[in-house]
Amino acid sequence: MSTLVTHSVLLTQRSLRGFARQPIFLVVTLIQPMVWLILFGRLFESVTDIPGFESGSSYLEFLTPGVVAMTALFSAAWAGTVYIEDMDRGVMDRLLAAPVSRGAMMNGTLAYQSVTSVIQTLIVLGVAWLIGARFAWVGVPFTILAAVLLTVVFAALSNAVALLVRQQEALIGISQFTALPLTFLSSAVMDPQLAPGWIRATARFNPLDWAVVVAREPLLGSPDWDAVWPRLGALTVLAVVMAAVATRTFGAYQRSR
């Protein structure tokens, strides 16, 4: 067990060090959520005037948790590219032929993705606050937690896909194909009361929507805890299950070669 922890920490450090050394990557990671926030925020500003838009009075405040979740999802969907780079070099083979636990190899990337997700979340909240949004403080830890859990779910999925398809192009295709539909099949950018019934129904099973609700309810004040807790629970269970399943795909990766 202690080996698992030590190896997880070592591999997380390796990724964070590489991340810090790529300033462009760092800047893009920071700018992208700001673009979402400002573009969407201004473009759809007036939707709060549509009769039936019930969730709060400021679209910026409504949108912020949506952008947090989108950012987490979009970043996490790319997580597998690290594995693919390691496979293209001999790094993956070297680690798999060494006494490194597969669980630690998975934990390392998930922890790294989680750290970047926390940074992005804080920046989105900060930028939103600067351009006028005001939140209940109790919502901040819930927002961070939601972002991290969503990140783990999709980073694990991305890693598993990377281990199975082993091609950057296929990974990009899959993440493009899932990220946007999941965003629009949720309450990320639009009050579900104004969406068609089938979208409302689909959103109930959409982990992105779970994260948005877990973050938005406490952020906007007077939260409906009955909506928050079951979604937070489901997100936690899904994160653990996805990480475990993704770790097992190392076996499939080795068998197929």
């Binding site: 190896h7 070592l10 060090r17 590489g18 070099r89 790094v91 070297r94 032929a97 080795q254 070669r257």
Partner: protein, 331 residues
């Protein structure tokens, strides 16, 4: 049964890769077997697709054989892969360092993942950097290193935990001649100074000849012939004759002439060059030259040499080694 003197034992390995939609399964290994004594350098030589890399993947626990037994350091790779991983080092064909880390960071991380403490890993990294003369570049990102330096780092990473058996999968492919000579010197030191067993795969005959104390020529998933380079060469009786002519037309005619000279066998024209074997090259040369003269052919050069590993390879794999390297470019 495990034999204590043997670092690697491979017996009757079979492996077939699934072909995928609409393709036949691809047989990679068809009853491959060999044994490597402790503290020696053993070479697996053969064309691309012969099964060398598949064998290394199985021995390093990255892949599983369909049947057969493989033991490394006395441990069955199929039964106890975790224990095998603690005893081996792998230098794969592709660079296996992290380009976004420095050389020193790469070594320290590899050492710690192998179970060394931070202090031990740091000391070991410094020693290896020194040994491979990488200390000056040690704290620069590997991204900025030359191919030869980065390859030496790969070997150093493979050695960080002092493995019993080191697997070197085509260690000098893509290196310039100077870096290759440097790498050869390092590999030669491994078995001598470190008493390590090295399993080397290569498609360079001179590399195998120079480094391996024993080698197996592998083709189509089987060992075609096995022995020390000297044994393999002495199995080929006689000398190699090589006659160069001005063009390929003359070479074809010279081929017919050589076939008629007593004591000369198997002449083959390859472009403007004719190669043949002779029981005694020195005694055949006068008759050969007279025959060429009588046929109105004027050779550019003629030479006699002791058999090389090239000849052994040609004999067993049935095609010249240069053409397999061209296949490699395509594959």
């Amino acid at each position: 049964m495990p034999t204590p003197d043997l670092a690697v034992q491979v017996h009757d390995l079979h492996k077939t890769y699934p072909g995928g939609r609409g393709h036949d399964p691809v047989p990679a290994l068809a009853g491959l077997g060999f044994a490597v004594e402790r503290g020696t350098v053993y070479g697996l030589l053969g064309p691309n697709g012969a099964g060398k890399s598949t064998t290394v993947r199985i021995l390093t626990t990255l892949s599983r054989a369909d049947s057969g037994v493989a033991r490394v350091a006395g441990l069955d790779v199929a039964v106890d892969p975790a224990a095998v991983r603690r005893r081996i080092g792998l230098v794969s064909q592709r660079p296996s360092s992290d380009p976004m880390a420095t050389g020193r960071e790469n070594l320290v991380l590899a050492g710690r993942l192998q179970g060394l403490t931070r202090t031990d890993a740091t000391a070991r990294a410094a020693r290896l950097l020194d040994r491979f003369r990488l200390t000056d570049a040690a704290d620069r990102l590997v991204r900025t290193w030359s191919g030869g330096m980065s390859r030496k780092l790969d070997v150093a990473i493979g050695l960080v935990h002092r493995p019993d058996v080191l697997f070197l999968d085509e260690p000098t492919t893509g290196l310039d001649p100077e870096a290759r000579a440097d790498m050869w010197a390092e590999i030669a030191r491994l078995s001598v100074d470190d008493e390590m067993t090295v399993l080397l795969t290569t498609h360079y005959l001179d590399e195998a000849d120079r480094l391996a104390s024993r080698l197996a020529i592998v083709d189509r998933g089987r060992v075609r012939v096995e022995g020390s380079p000297e044994e393999l060469k002495s199995e080929l009786r006689g000398d190699t004759l090589q006659v160069e002519l001005p063009d390929s037309d003359q070479a074809a005619r010279a081929c017919a002439v050589l076939a008629g000279v007593a004591g000369v066998t198997g002449p083959v024209a390859d472009g403007a060059v004719v190669r043949a074997r002779a029981e005694s090259g020195a005694r055949s040369i006068p008759a050969l030259m007279a025959g060429l003269d009588a046929a109105g052919l004027s050779p550019v050069s003629a030479s006699v040499s002791r058999p090389s590993l090239d000849d052994v390879y040609l004999q067993h794999v049935g095609r010249a080694h240069r053409s397999t390297e061209r296949d490699e470019e395509v594959a």
